[in-house]
Amino acid sequence: MLRILHMRRVLFPAVVLFIGAGEALGDVGGAMDGILEITTWGKIWRALTLVDHTTRVVVIGTTVLGAAAGVVGTFAYLRKRAMLGDALSHATLPGIALAFVILGEKRLGWMTVGAAVTGVLGVLAVLGLRRVPRVKEDAAIGIVLSVFFGAGLVLMSLIQQMGSGEEAGLRSFIYGKAAAMLTNDAWLIGVSAGVVLVCCVLLFKEFRLICFDQSYASSQGWPVGLIDLLMMGLVVLTTVVGLQAVGMILVVALLIVPAAAARFWTDRLGRMTVAAGVFGALSGWLGSTISAVLPRMPTGAVIVLCTGVLFLMSMILSPHRGVLAGLIRRMRLARRVADQHLLRALAEIEESRGEGTRVEESELWKMRSWSAAGFSRVMGRGQRRGWIDGDGRQCRLTATGRTLAKRVLTNHRLWELYLIRYADIAPSHVDRDADEIEHILSEGLVQELRQALAEETTIPPSPHVAGVGI
C-alpha cells in the first residue's frame, strides 16, 4: 500500500510537470488572448511598433540574441564545432540544477554561472575524450551530451521531490521561455551580445586565422590555444544567455543554422559573419513577433523555424551554391551537350557525303542514344536557332550551323589525337573520352591543342579506321 501511495506521489508531480511544460512553451499572444479584444491587424501593428512593454522586451532580447549567436556561430561553424554547441548546451543542465540545490532557491545569476561552469566542463570533456584512442569526435559529443544531460535530469528529479515547486521553473531552461523574459534578462542578453560582437570585431583577424589555417597560425607564433579558448568562451556565453530564451535543445540551432545559411551567399568571411548576424537577428525578430501575434506559438521554436525558412531559401535560391542555380546550370549544360552532339553528327555526315547533304531524320536519330522526346526537342531547338533546315523527315545544316558544327568536330578530333599521342590510349578507346570533354574545351585550350599537335588543317581527319567512326 505504501508503494501505491508512493506511486501517486511520483505520478502527481508528473502531472504538474506537464502543466509546467505547457507554461514553459507559453507565448505572449496567448496571454493577451481573450483579455484584450483586439483585431489581428491591431495585434500585428502593436507587435511591430513594440507598444507593449512585454513584447518590446522579448522582441529586442531575441533579436539581439539572434545577431550575437549568428556572428559567433559563424566561427564555430567554420571550425566544424557546430555540434559541440549541442553538447555544450546540454551540459549546462547539471550546473543549473546544482546551483539551485546549493542555493536552495531560484537565482538567475548564479544558475547562469552554474550553467557556464558545467557547460565548459562538458566542452573540456569532449576535447579530452577526443584524444582517447578509438573515441571519435562525434561519439565524444554524443557521450557528453547524454551523460551530462542525464546527470542534470537526475538532479532535477531530486529537486522535484524537495517540494519547493520551483522545479517547473528550472524546466524553462530546457525548452526555453522567451515569453517570460524580463527587462533584466533582456539587459543580460544585450550586454552579453555586446561583449560577443565587440570581441568578434576586435579578434576578427585572429579568429579568421584559426578558422582557416590553424597550423599556419601557430607557426606564425599566434597563441592558437588562447584564441581558441576565447572563441569557445564566446560560444559558451551566447549559449548560456540564450538558454532562457530558446532552451538548451534548440539554442544550438541559433548557432548553426544562420551560419550555414549565410555560407550559401558568400565566400568571404567578413560578409558571411555579417550575413549570419543579420539572419539570426531577423529570425529572432520575426519569431518573437509571430509568437506575439498568433496564439499558442512557443517563441523559441518559432524563432528556430524562422532560421529554418531562411536556411531553406538560402539553400535553394543562392546564386552560386544554391540548389536551383545548380539545377539550371546542369540543365543548360545538358542542353548544350545535346545540341553539340546533333551538330557533330551532322558534320560527320557532311564530311563523308559532301556539304549541304540532306539527311533522313530517322538515320540521324540512330546515330546516338537519343530518346524520342529528347531527339525532337534537340531538333526543334536546332531549327529555332537557325542551325538546321528541316521538314520533319529530312534535314540539313545551315551556314551558321555548319560553322558551329565544324568547331565541335574540330574539338572532338583534336582531343582524340591528343589522347592517342600523349596519353597513349588506343584509337578505339578515345571516342568516348573525347565525347565528354569536347563540350568544355575553351578557345585557348583548342589553340594550345593545335600547337601541341602541330595540326594546321581546319578539321583534323578522324583517327578511326574508316567505317568504325563516330
Binding site: 582517447v132 554524443g142 557521450i143 551523460v147 542534470g152 531530486l158 544550438v252 523555424l305
Partner: protein
C-alpha cells in the same frame, strides 16, 4: 523505498531490453562515425509523433510509431541531401535538420487541436515512462511496452544476425563494400530504419536521453576493450545491461544512501528520495565508460601512462649507464650520485631509475669519503652500458657517413636513437660504416658482448 519485484522487475526488464536494443545497433553507428544520428533522430521524431496524433486523433501506438519512423528516416535523408547538395558539413547538416524538425514538433504540439489536454508532452520524450510500465505490470499483467520492446529487440537481433557480414564491411570500409557489390547506401538506410525503430520503441519507455546514451556510450566502452566486432557487440550488450540494472538500483536507493529525504507534504512520513531511473541509467553508462577510458588494458589512460613512464624510466636508466661508462673511459670509476642526477636532469625520474638499476644489480652504491653516495658500474652494468654507448657511437658514425651532418650535430639525434637500436641493428650498422671501431670523434666503439647480454 521498497523494492517490489512485481513492479521493479518490469522496470528492470524494460530498461535492459531497450538498453540492449540500442547498444546493438549503436555499435554500427559508432563505427561508422554516425553517433550523432541517434541524437538527431530521437529529437527529430517529435513532429512525426504529433502529426500521427493529429491525423488519427488518438494516442494509439502504431500510427505514432509509423509517423515517428518516417520522420526518423527523413532526418537521415534530409541530412544526406543537405550535405550533398548544400555542401554543408555532415555534423552541421544534422544539427540544422534535427533542430528545425524539433522546433516544428514543439509548435505542432501547441497548435494541435486537443493536444493541450492529452499527455503528449515533450517531457515524456525526454524521460519516458518507466514508472507507468511498472504500474502496467502490477498484478501480473504483461505490459504492452514490454511486448513492443521484445519485438524490437528480436528485430534488431535478426537484422544484425542476417546482415552481419554486410554491416561489418560497411562499418569498416564502405568503398570495399561497394566494390564487393554490397549496396552501401541501402545498408546505410536499412541501419537508419533500424535506429529509428529502436529509438522510438525505446524512448516510449525510457526517454530520448537514455536512447542517445545507450546508442553511443556502451558501444564506445566496448570499443575501448575489444578488438573484434563480435567481442565488441557482446561487451556493449553487457555494458548496456549493467547500466540498466545499476541505474535502476541507484535511482531507487542512491539518494537514500546519501541521506536525502523527500519533504512532499502529501506523505505523512518522510521517505528516502528516488531519482529518475532512465536518467540514472545514462549516468551509470557514463561511469562505465569513464572506467574503460581509465583502465582499458590497451587503450586506457592509466595503462598508457604506465607504459610511457616505464619507457621514460628505461631511457633515463640507459642514459645513467652511458654517463657512468663515459666516466670510466675518462678514468673516473666512481661518480657522485648528486652529480649524475644533475647531469641527467628530471630529478625524480633519475632517482627512480637509479634505484631500479641498483635493484637490477647494474650499479653499486658506495659511500664516498666526503660522505656523498658514489655510483659504480657492476660487471653486468658495464655490459649493458657498452651496448648503449656502442649504439650511440655506431649511429653517429652511420649518420656522419650517410646523412651529411656536421660532426657537432651528431650527438643529439644519436642520443635519442641509442635507446631503440637492437643488437641486430647494431650489427647492420657495424657493416655499414667505414670504421666500426671508432666513432667520428675518434672514440672507441665498445664491442658487442652478445653472450653476456642480459635483458631483464
Amino acid at each position: 523505498m521498497v523494492w517490489e519485484w512485481s513492479i521493479d522487475g518490469w522496470i528492470l526488464l524494460a530498461g535492459v531490453l531497450s538498453a540492449c536494443s540500442c547498444a546493438l545497433v549503436g555499435n554500427f553507428l559508432v563505427l561508422r562515425k554516425l553517433s550523432l544520428m541517434g541524437d538527431a533522430i530521437s529529437h527529430a521524431v517529435l513532429p512525426g509523433l504529433v502529426i500521427a496524433f493529429i491525423v488519427t486523433n488518438s494516442r494509439a501506438s502504431l500510427p505514432m510509431f509509423v509517423g515517428a519512423v518516417i520522420v526518423g528516416v527523413l532526418t537521415a535523408f534530409l541530412t544526406q541531401v543537405i550535405t550533398r547538395h548544400g555542401k554543408v558539413e555532415h555534423g552541421a547538416a544534422m544539427g540544422v535538420v534535427f533542430s528545425i524538425l524539433f522546433a516544428f514538433g514543439l509548435v505542432l504540439i501547441r497548435r494541435a487541436p486537443g493536444a493541450d489536454h492529452v499527455d503528449l508532452d515533450p517531457e515524456c520524450v525526454l524521460l519516458g515512462n518507466m514508472m507507468q510500465i511498472g504500474m502496467a505490470g502490477f498484478g501480473g499483467m504483461f505490459p504492452t511496452a514490454i511486448t513492443n520492446l521484445l519485438i524490437v529487440m528480436a528485430a534488431n537481433i535478426l537484422f544484425v544476425g542476417l546482415f552481419y557480414k554486410e554491416l561489418r564491411i560497411c562499418a569498416f570500409d564502405p568503398e570495399l563494400a561497394t566494390s564487393l557489390g554490397i549496396p552501401a547506401s541501402v545498408m546505410h538506410y536499412a541501419l537508419m530504419v533500424m535506429v529509428a525503430i529502436t529509438t522510438i520503441a525505446s524512448f516510449e519507455a525510457v526517454g530520448s536521453i537514455l536512447v542517445i546514451a545507450m546508442l553511443i556510450v556502451p558501444a564506445v566502452t566496448a570499443h575501448l576493450l575489444a578488438d573484434r566486432l563480435g567481442a565488441m557487440i557482446f561487451l556493449s550488450l553487457i555494458a548496456a545491461a549493467v547500466s540498466a540494472v545499476m541505474g535502476h538500483v541507484l535511482a531507487m536507493f542512491g539518494p537514500g544512501w546519501l541521506g536525502m529525504k523527500t519533504t512532499v507534504a502529501s506523505l505523512a512520513e518522510t521517505s528516502p528520495m528516488t531519482a529518475e531511473t532512465s536518467a540514472m541509467m545514462a549516468v551509470v553508462a557514463g561511469a562505465l565508460l569513464l572506467a574503460a577510458v581509465l583502465f582499458s588494458p590497451e587503450h586506457g589512460l592509466l595503462g598508457r601512462a604506465y607504459h610511457r613512464f616505464a619507457l621514460a624510466t628505461r631511457i633515463v636508466g640507459q642514459d645513467v649507464l652511458g654517463w657512468l661508462y663515459r666516466g670510466q673511459e675518462a678514468g673516473k670509476h666512481v661518480m657522485m650520485r648528486t652529480e649524475v642526477i644533475r647531469v641527467i636532469g628530471r630529478s625524480w625520474q633519475s632517482r627512480w631509475a637509479l634505484r631500479r638499476l641498483q635493484h637490477q644489480g647494474l650499479l653499486d652504491v658506495e659511500t664516498h669519503e666526503s660522505g656523498e653516495a658514489g655510483l659504480r658500474l657492476t660487471q653486468r652494468g658495464r655490459i649493458q652500458a657498452e651496448r648503449v654507448v656502442g649504439s650511440h657511437r655506431l649511429w653517429e658514425s652511420y649518420m656522419s657517413e650517410h646523412f651529411d651532418l656536421a660532426d657537432d650535430h651528431l650527438h643529439e639525434p644519436a642520443n635519442r636513437m641509442e635507446h631503440f637500436i637492437t643488437p641486430e641493428l647494431q650489427d647492420e650498422l657495424r657493416r655499414d660504416v667505414p670504421d666500426a671501431t671508432r666513432d667520428p670523434h675518434g672514440k672507441p666503439v665498445p664491442p658487442l658482448n652478445d653472450s653476456l647480454l642480459d635483458d631483464s
